[in-house]
């Protein structure tokens, strides 16, 4: 009798501990969002969005340009690789190596990507510290994410559709182009949005490849110009530049978080709506 009671008590204690774990994880997130929203949003003013020093306009524009270019570079490479893995590969050592490589690329520290970008794009290709070098570096960083989300989207297309197309005398590529890709496209786009959302928040890869801090000439004139971006702006204002008003820093942090979380939210909503409207 005693032993049974004790086991049940142990369970109650353990489960309380698990609930505590959940709470410990949830509360800080809520705290972060609340604090940033409260101190950041209230610090936003038209001044900050519009002109004036430390205006957020240039970093926002820079971030948009950077992630757009990153997406343009990463998308064809990543989707093509996903098509290979999903439609053309046939198991065996090569595919295992490719997947191992993807896992490793996903695990490379972001600052190491920065080093690689520096050595290859900035120095060897002579792009210099530029929008282009930064986008190339970030494209590499998000490539594993693009590949895995695209591959999942492709695999969702049922095999019966591929068989129907092949049985009508279509070639493998025609089947991919006319049946598989169009049906996987919404899922692929969702993955792309997630990927550039990730890219928007990254700092280390662009520390030496693209970002700079300037009060006088914040907008790039070409692909080979350096740019202001939100994460680097926040970093520099917090650690290097003296005499920046706290309000400005909080507003920058808030806008950055809002953009990144906003893009993730868009992707999540898209994904949920996709599941609902599946046509097969």
């Amino acid at each position: 009798m005693m032993r049974v009671v004790s086991a049940q008590n142990t369970e109650k204690l353990a489960f309380a501990g698990l609930w505590l774990c959940a709470a410990i994880v949830i509360l800080p997130v809520l705290g972060i969002i609340v604090v940033l929203a409260w101190r950041g949003a209230s610090a936003l003013s038209w001044d900050l969005i519009g002109g004036g020093p430390h205006s957020l306009l240039a970093p926002i524009v820079g971030t948009i340009l950077l992630v757009a270019l990153t997406g343009l570079i990463a998308a064809p490479l990543g989707v093509a690789a996903a098509v290979y893995l999903s439609e053309y590969s046939r198991g065996g050592t090569l595919v295992r190596l490719i997947r191992l490589a993807i896992v490793n690329l996903a695990g490379v520290p972001s600052v190491v990507y920065g080093l690689f970008g520096l050595a290859l794009f900035v120095v060897l290709f002579q792009f210099g510290r530029s929008l282009l070098a930064g986008a190339c570096t970030l494209a590499l960083l998000v490539l594993p994410l693009v590949i895995s989300t695209s591959e999942e989207a492709l695999r969702q297309v049922p095999g019966s559709l591929r068989h129907a197309s092949l049985a009508l005398g279509a070639s493998q590529w025609q089947t991919v182009r006319r049946v598989v890709l169009p049906n996987a496209l919404p899922g692929i786009i969702t993955g792309l949005i997630l990927s550039i959302g990730r890219a928007a928040g990254e700092t280390a890869p662009i520390l030496f490849t693209a970002a700079f801090y300037s009060l006088t000439d914040p907008f790039p004139n070409s692909l080979l110009d350096p740019i202001l971006v939100l994460p680097y702006q926040l970093f520099v204002m917090t650690t290097e530049v003296p005499n920046v008003a706290p309000a400005t820093k909080w507003a920058t942090a808030f806008v950055l978080l809002a953009i990144v979380l906003g893009m993730n939210l868009v992707a999540v909503i898209l994904r949920a709506r996709l599941r609902g409207s599946r046509r097969w």
Partner: protein, 299 residues
């Protein structure tokens, strides 16, 4: 009709697709090659190797420059181990919670929360740590400065938890229902079932989850750069957790801006990058092998 032009075009496209497939391998090799190329001069200059990896002094700007990486390696170690001490129990706890006992409404709250945790940019974590959490903790614990190793560990833990939770949860879900049912049918409580049957059965997935969390923590840059202070010195036992420190990643980020291209300092920073790359490569490969051995939890 399939003309020969159409066929040639199709062959071209399919070749491009095959090439894209092996891109991942090419890029991994390229990264390694470029890191090695720019790190090599350091290995040539600083002999023996133990002097580089084991040297106690990291003074790149003094005359003569000293490139002992040990303080940085230890710095990374302290921060990472501290992070895992917090993240693994919490992450595992959350995973067990979600997989085994959470009511549906709670699951609907916890899963998005974890995704948000993962999405918060590291510079934002650093910002909050530097401006708010660090000073507050220094106040409460009477520390000399609001930037110290344990603060980095705390923030890193929350950045690693999403990785640990999602992979652990997958591993737990993959345990066959039959195992769970047999244990319950034998009169075990749910908790006993979890501890004695489910967790051991999911063991390799859980280990892989922790390894990947480890890799995530070691590779983090901006947060540790901003909150762990700027002191590339040897940490002193447990007290080191409460004092400023420098990780490998933060060193690269902090000093690359000042290292002249092609100088010894420049090469030394690449050497650190190479060490980082090799460490994370090993961890990721081991984690992958562990998962494969167990029969495949998708990472």
């Amino acid at each position: 009709m399939r003309s020969s032009i159409a066929r040639a075009w199709e062959w071209l496209i399919e070749s491009a697709i095959r090439l894209a497939g092996v891109l991942a391998i090419i890029f991994v090799l390229l990264i390694f090659a470029f890191l090695l190329r720019d790190a090599l001069p350091t290995f040539a200059e600083q002999t023996p190797l133990s002097g580089l990896l084991g040297g106690h002094e990291w003074r790149p700007t003094s005359e003569p420059a000293q490139f002992g990486m040990l303080p940085l390696i230890l710095g990374s170690l302290y921060v990472t181990v501290g992070a895992l001490v917090i993240a693994v129990p919490l992450g595992l706890g959350c995973a067990i919670f979600v997989a085994e006992i959470a009511p549906p409404w709670m699951r609907e709250i916890l899963k998005p929360t974890v995704e948000v945790l993962a999405a918060i940019p590291s510079v934002v974590y650093g910002f909050l740590g530097l401006l708010m959490i660090g000073p507050w903790l220094a106040d409460v614990f009477g520390l000399p400065i609001g930037q110290f190793a344990a603060l980095g560990s705390l923030l890193l833990a929350f950045m690693a938890i999403p990785t640990i939770v999602s992979i652990s949860e997958d591993a737990l879900r993959n345990v066959p229902v039959a195992l769970r049912d047999s244990s319950l049918a034998l009169g075990a409580t749910r908790w006993q079932t979890i501890v004695r049957v489910i967790v051991p059965a999911a063991r390799s997935g859980l280990i892989a989850a922790s390894l990947l969390g480890l890799a995530r923590a070691i590779g983090e840059t901006m947060t540790v750069l901003m909150v762990t202070g700027n002191a590339p010195v040897m940490p002193r036992a447990l007290l080191g957790f409460l004092r400023p420190i420098r990780t490998m990643t933060a060193t690269i980020a902090a000093e690359m801006g000042e290292a002249a291209h092609g100088s010894s300092h420049y090469h030394a920073l690449f050497a650190i990058g190479l060490v980082l790359f090799v460490i994370t490569f090993l961890i990721n490969t081991v984690a992958d092998v562990v998962v494969r051995r167990a029969g495949g939890v998708q990472t």
